[in-house]
Symmetry: C2
């Protein structure tokens, strides 16, 4: 059986001169997000082949937790801060968790 | 500073009639992979919008651990088992880990 968590991958393509600022803003947002009760993981990855491309690997307890995240002040601050850094609109893909079991996340 | 881990996202698009078999084979491979010393994470995700699309979220201690994974019998068994299940070739993207710190993975 699949798990009940919701895994969201946000793909961000940033302008080359905004890489450092994006990393700083996104680290701050990720650290604050981990303090949310409904956030299980909030990893930030940077592509090896193209350092202007990032993936935010977000795992939420449920869809309500994902919605609650977007109401937090740290999310709103991050969203507004990175708007001008984007090379193209962000892409967000939702997933169900097949492995491991919920308790092992 | 970025971390020293290597995060690999493998995107797999499977034939519709192979979804269940792919999940079974991939769960077995993921569970065995977690027993490798160099494997930190091995999550399996299925897209909500298109259940024929999966992401394997693999985190390795270093590039040598990723190479060692491909030498294991469970990887070879999985690779051969899923060959006929693929709707298109798999795509693999390597990342450096920006957040959290290595010790928090």
């Amino acid at each position: 059986m699949p798990g009940t968590l919701l895994a969201v991958h946000v793909h961000a393509h940033v302008k080359p001169d905004a890489i450092d600022a994006f990393i700083a803003a996104t680290r701050t947002n990720a650290a604050a997000s981990l303090n949310e009760a409904g956030v299980v993981r909030f990893d930030v990855l940077q592509e090896v082949e193209d350092p202007t491309r990032f993936v935010l690997v977000e795992v939420y307890r449920n869809p309500a937790a994902a919605a609650a995240h977007k109401q937090t002040s740290h999310y709103v601050t991050w969203r507004d801060a990175v708007t001008a850094m984007m090379a193209e609109p962000r892409d967000s893909v939702k997933h169900v968790t097949i492995f491991p079991e919920d308790d092992d996340y």
